[in-house]
Symmetry: C2
Subunit: 295 residues, 2 copies
């Protein structure tokens, strides 16, 4: 069989992925029937670079800053204040799933795009992505998708897996790039999403999120709703992915240890690395396991 993971060095992680796929597709105790072959991946830090700031944070921060300029009373409230003063602590609180921070962020997300149609939002995302570039690499963000992960997509798809992406990032933002960047259908993108309202022939964003943030336990709740089952294969890179990885037959955790080719950091992933070791999840060292990083 030809090597479907050429960007992966022949080390433990690659062997574990290949072994799992062989096991679940071969008759025996570990066999999983094709209908149940669901694979789910986090996006930021798992499929593309998330430093110094996840792409959607950048997109959202610009919108929040614009809103605070139009309405100065917002500037004193979170998350606008944190954006304007470049105060990381508020967003770290979101990452730690602190209820006050989450509620403030949810309300701001809803307020910012209230009444927007899908076409209007898609146009905004397309415009943003056509201009925005990574500060470090000077290229569009979609050039910073990890080639080894797209190879895992291809390997899984070749073995009758259906590939989903599940991120706390906005579902609608990711759906714009799903087909071109990942080769997956839009409906396989799961994420934080607005509740739409249909009136007079148009759907528009309403004043709530649909099922809250897809973060931590929220990822599992969203995955079950959209994919109809728990995943057989899951990939993540951070503490907010732990629950999703716990629900999967196979779990892989991308470790950012490659300062030269990408970034080296452990922030927001300290707990996930510990849980991975306790549970024998597959740790993927970007530095050692990948001979190529970007597509």
């Amino acid at each position: 069989m030809s090597d479907l993971l050429p960007s992966w060095n022949d080390r433990e992680a690659k062997r574990a992925i290949l072994q799992f796929v062989t096991n679940v597709t071969t008759p025996g105790d570990a066999f999983i029937k094709p209908a149940d072959r669901i694979a789910v991946f986090d996006n930021d830090g798992t499929l593309w670079a998330e430093q110094p700031l996840p792409v959607q944070f950048d997109f959202i921060f610009r919108a929040l800053a614009d809103a605070a300029q139009r309405d100065v009373t917002l500037a004193e409230q979170q998350p606008y204040k944190a954006v304007l003063t470049q105060d990381q602590s508020f967003f770290e609180a979101v990452g730690k799933q602190q209820p006050d921070a989450i509620m403030a962020l949810e309300q701001a997300l809803v307020r910012t795009w209230l009444g927007t149609t899908p076409d209007e939002f898609e146009a905004e995302v397309t415009k943003y992505l056509s201009k925005a570039k990574s500060k470090r690499f000077g290229v569009p963000y979609t050039d910073l998708i990890y080639k080894p992960m797209l190879e895992v997509f291809d390997l899984l798809a070749a073995n009758d897996f259906r590939i989903f992406v599940c991120s706390v990032g906005g579902r609608e933002f990711m759906r714009v790039i799903a087909e071109s960047a990942w080769g997956i259908p839009r409906e396989h993108v799961i994420g934080t999403a607005p509740l739409y309202e249909y009136k007079e022939g148009k759907i528009r964003r309403g004043d709530e999120l649909l099922g809250g943030l897809a973060l931590g336990p929220g990822k599992v709740e969203h995955i079950f709703a959209y994919a109809g089952r728990m995943p057989a294969f899951a990939g993540g890179n951070a503490d907010v992915d732990i629950e999703m990885l716990q629900c999967s037959n196979f779990a892989m955790l991308v470790v950012h240890d490659d300062a030269e080719r990408e970034f080296a950091y452990t922030k927001s992933a300290e707990r996930s690395v510990m849980v991975a070791r306790e549970n024998d999840w597959t740790l993927v060292s970007m530095k050692n396991d990948w001979n190529t990083v970007f597509s």
Copy 2:
């Protein structure tokens, strides 16, 4: 090309369906790229018989009657009262999308299965379906799926459409039969659904619905969330399907006019037939267009 719709008589409806599929798959003005080939079908009355009572109404009514027996204070409230007294008017009010009736039904649905895990609920549905039979035909409900509609599924799938079912009925109930009855993956089933909560390694039904009832405009809202687009092809049979059909490039409406082989009724479909005529939707006469009804 072999006839993929053998249960359809060679009349206007069959020709319209075949013509649409040819048009959207042939380069030209009407071409739809495969990624956008989404087909959505209502379930009750569109894919299987819904008389004298939709299957899920029967399932729910039994559960509500049980609950009212355990807690007599419920017997005086809706929808329990309507179930116990076999009063159709309450459920007709739901069909007409009256807010009080909808809220009462939503609350009862949530209360009945609060805390239930997906496995527990699936076991309940499987047990129910293994015993329940149609009063008129004396066979399990899954034997009352319309063969001509499954042929439309096959025709569309052969032309790279992805088939979804969207019903006001419970998403979780339908997902149990999705693969065996319709040959579609579970995640292509859209419907009224609980908000799940993930705690301590389990997901359980929470105290809300996820996005309300998939009824009328709610169908469009749910379809956009799960399928990521508006449908290219939609099939329905009732007034609550109008919005979904309006959002589709091609719309077909099943008309129940076959008292001999199925049922003849226009109730809850009066408005949809009018709108179909105004909009040149394809009207499907069960009596005249189908040479076979059940699989």
